[in-house]
């Protein structure tokens, strides 16, 4: 039973990170029907910036969770800046182009950003300082769930609540939902669609950066390539849940996390990626709109 619980909570932790990144995919896709392939790279850049800031601070003698918070803030700022710039350079000029064009541009941007970090920094795995202390109150359950997992779960939970409030309760959120429904109509009623799109990228990037920081401090290392697999997995989660749907992204992330965790625990950890993609293929064949997605009829 403990083993099952451990896998369950491991899957939950992993899944909540996928969900965090998947939200960025789903929000962007919901508005401009583009797979933002470079989203995983934003996550990676977030992790890298956090590493650099945390690295400098620890070298100058700071330690503990406050360093992690500062690093996370820096990561969010820069990830948002990258997300914003990315959209302006690689996607905005392609608005109205054939569907394949922005997708290829996104793939190009993903390759570019990966290699930019590789060249500017290093191809090695860099160790991320251990900043999450072991909480005393966690000791009785330490064999099932550790303190880092708890931090991840709480952070993602709070972030998702904030996001839901932003989308449901604020004026900006309303504008975002309107733009998602019908872009030209939103423009007609006076919503600055370009700004909403930029904002979507910024919010998505912030979520990715949070995910990046959490994973980096959890796994303890960072590398230019981590964004790629995380990005693909998170996209899988978004599709699983029904792309364009925000609760769908969360659900998809959790389902994917559990699938991987249980497959690794009970079958073989070598094949966890195979299970993840197998699940994706299966869902797309059986229910292309995803678990919570609505099938959209194409207008003829």
């Amino acid at each position: 039973m403990d083993y099952f619980l451990e896998l369950f909570l491991g899957g939950l932790t992993r899944g909540s990170i996928y969900a965090l990144i998947a939200l960025g995919y789903t929000m962007v896709y919901g508005i401009i029907q583009l797979i933002n392939f470079a989203h995983g790279e934003i996550y990676m850049i977030g992790a890298f910036v956090a590493l650099i800031v945390a690295g400098i601070l620890t070298i100058y003698g700071f330690a503990g969770i406050s360093v992690l918070v500062l690093a996370a803030i820096a990561a969010i700022i820069w990830a948002c800046a990258y997300g914003y710039t990315l959209e302006k350079i690689a996607y905005r000029p392609l608005r109205g182009a054939p569907r394949l064009s922005p997708l290829i541009s996104a793939i190009g941007m993903s390759i570019f950003l990966q290699n930019y970090v590789l060249l500017a920094q290093t191809s090695d795995f860099l160790p991320f300082p251990n900043l999450i202390p072991d909480f005393e109150f966690m000791e009785p359950v330490a064999h099932i769930i550790g303190s880092p997992e708890l931090v991840i779960l709480i952070t993602t939970f709070v972030t998702m609540i904030l996001l839901t409030l932003l989308i449901k309760k604020t004026k900006v959120g309303k504008a975002m939902r309107a733009t998602q429904q019908d872009m030209s109509m939103a423009r007609l009623v006076g919503i600055n669609v370009d700004r909403i799109i930029s904002l979507t990228f910024i919010i998505g990037s912030a979520l990715a950066a949070i995910g990046g920081v959490l994973v980096a401090s959890y796994i303890g290392q960072v590398n230019f390539y981590i964004g790629f697999l995380a990005g693909v997995k998170a996209f899988t989660a978004a599709v699983l849940g029904g792309i364009g749907s925000i609760p769908g992204a969360v659900l998809g992330g959790l389902v994917l996390g559990w699938t991987e965790s249980f497959a690794a625990g009970y079958v073989s950890s070598d094949y966890e990626d195979v299970f993840a993609f197998g699940l994706l293929v299966l869902i797309l064949i059986l229910r292309p709109a995803g678990i919570l997605g609505k099938a959209r009829k194409q207008k003829v």
């Binding site: 290829i104 793939i107 190009g108 790629f228 693909v232 996209f235 070598d270 993609f277």
Partner: protein, 404 residues
């Protein structure tokens, strides 16, 4: 003027801020060292300032060109030259002669580089069928390349089968994989298809890495036979030349067949499918079958050239079949010109040979590929050479109208 200047200064400042942590700082957490690199920031400032001017200039030019196109549409000189059939035949003849004498003039090292460029030509032409002609974005194309390479390596290892036997088998196996994988997923929309094919590419790599009893795992398979020629013993030099000629033949074969297909009933259906799926089915084209044929045929070439790749390197392991390979092949197609055979060939040579010969530049290879893909999509989506539409002849009718 002043406005442009101001804007460029702002952009420059923005990029300095943007790249600051990654470009200016390098931390070493194990040795507790921080390295500050102020010079790189200066370069970023100057670079982004200059590039912002270029960006504006080209964007404005693109807008202007759009208007031109609407008013009549002019083709570039290169494009017109390429459409001149007479010139094309002559150029092809010259190129073929050059290709044939190449190994006699250059050494083995050059030949090896040329062979890998030619391998990418075939891969590019194969992917061009599904991406360029039929508009099916395949991000796991390298999986079929792996199928070909492993089928030769394994059949050669276990059953001692020769290169020439396996060459068609590799192609057919690639094709079969294409059909089996393509069948369930081809009704998916374009971007879903991209992600699923990406998944397939990764699954195949994971399986090759972990199913050791089948594929020998990450250590790969060594001592694969080189292609034989009536049982002759060949040294490295002559066998490289031999492979080079096989490769030339394969390229010519590929060009011939893809060209025929492109200008056939099937090829037209592929292009129509790319342009508009709904109109396409409403015109009586079976979408599933047409997509599957494009996907499987693209896979055929990858499988075939995979066999040759294994024979050339005599050693393969899963590391040769990563997503990056798929991305390189895709950028060849995109840069060269989607749907254009000539463009894809040119794209393969530029993308593979340039980094080989400009060694200093080779570090920046993938960076440049990525940037080129973005810039191409924005400024020249049709690629270096856009697909040439065939002008069909309708002789009798012309006479008819002349007489009447």
């Amino acid at each position: 003027m002043l406005k442009d200047f101001k804007q460029s200064i702002l952009i420059s400042i923005w990029f300095v801020f943007l790249t600051f942590p990654l470009m200016a700082v390098r931390v070493n957490t194990t040795e507790q060292m921080v390295e500050w690199r102020w010079m790189t920031i200066l370069w970023v400032a100057i670079g982004s300032f200059v590039l912002s001017y270029a960006w504006r200039y080209f964007l404005a030019k693109k807008q202007l060109k759009k208007k031109d196109d609407e008013e009549g549409g002019k083709h570039s000189k290169l494009q017109l030259l390429m459409e001149d059939m007479n010139f094309r035949y002559k150029a092809m003849g010259v190129l073929l002669v050059l290709a044939l004498v190449f190994p006699l003039v250059f050494d083995t090292y050059q030949n090896t580089i040329m062979i890998s460029a030619l391998i990418y030509v075939v891969l590019g032409l194969g992917l061009n069928i599904s991406v360029g002609l039929a508009g099916l974005l395949d991000l796991g194309y390298v999986a079929f390349f792996a199928v070909g390479a492993y089928s030769y390596a394994l059949l050669n290892y276990h059953f001692d089968l020769g290169f020439w036997t396996i060459l068609p088998v590799g192609g057919i196996l690639g094709c079969l994989f294409g059909v089996v994988l393509g069948f369930p997923i081809l009704r998916l929309r374009g971007d879903y298809l991209a992600i699923v094919t990406l998944g397939f590419g990764m699954i195949i790599k994971v399986v090759l890495e972990n199913w050791s009893s089948f594929s020998f795992g990450p250590s790969g398979i060594a001592n694969i036979d080189k292609p034989g020629l009536f049982g002759m013993d060949m040294n490295i030099d002559s066998s490289t030349i031999y492979i080079y000629y096989i490769m030339i033949a394969l390229v010519v074969f590929t060009i011939l067949i893809t060209n025929r297909l492109k200008n056939s009933r099937i090829g037209r259906a592929w292009i129509a499918l790319r342009e508009d799926e709904i109109a396409c089915v409403a015109m009586g084209i079976d979408m599933a079958r047409t997509k599957l044929s494009a996907y499987a045929l693209g896979a055929f070439w990858a499988g075939m050239v995979g066999v040759l790749f294994a024979a050339k390197t005599t050693f393969i392991n899963p590391a040769s079949f990563t997503f990056m390979e798929s991305a390189i092949i895709l950028s060849i197609v995109v840069l060269g010109g989607m749907g254009s055979i000539l463009g894809v060939i040119l794209g393969a040579f530029i993308l593979i040979l340039l980094p080989e010969y400009l060694r200093a530049f080779s570090e920046y290879r993938m960076l440049a590929f990525g940037a080129a893909m973005v810039l191409m999509m924005i400024f020249r989506p049709q690629g270096i050479i856009s697909g040439i539409r065939t002008k069909y002849e309708y002789k009798e009718l012309k006479e008819e109208t002349d007489n009447g």
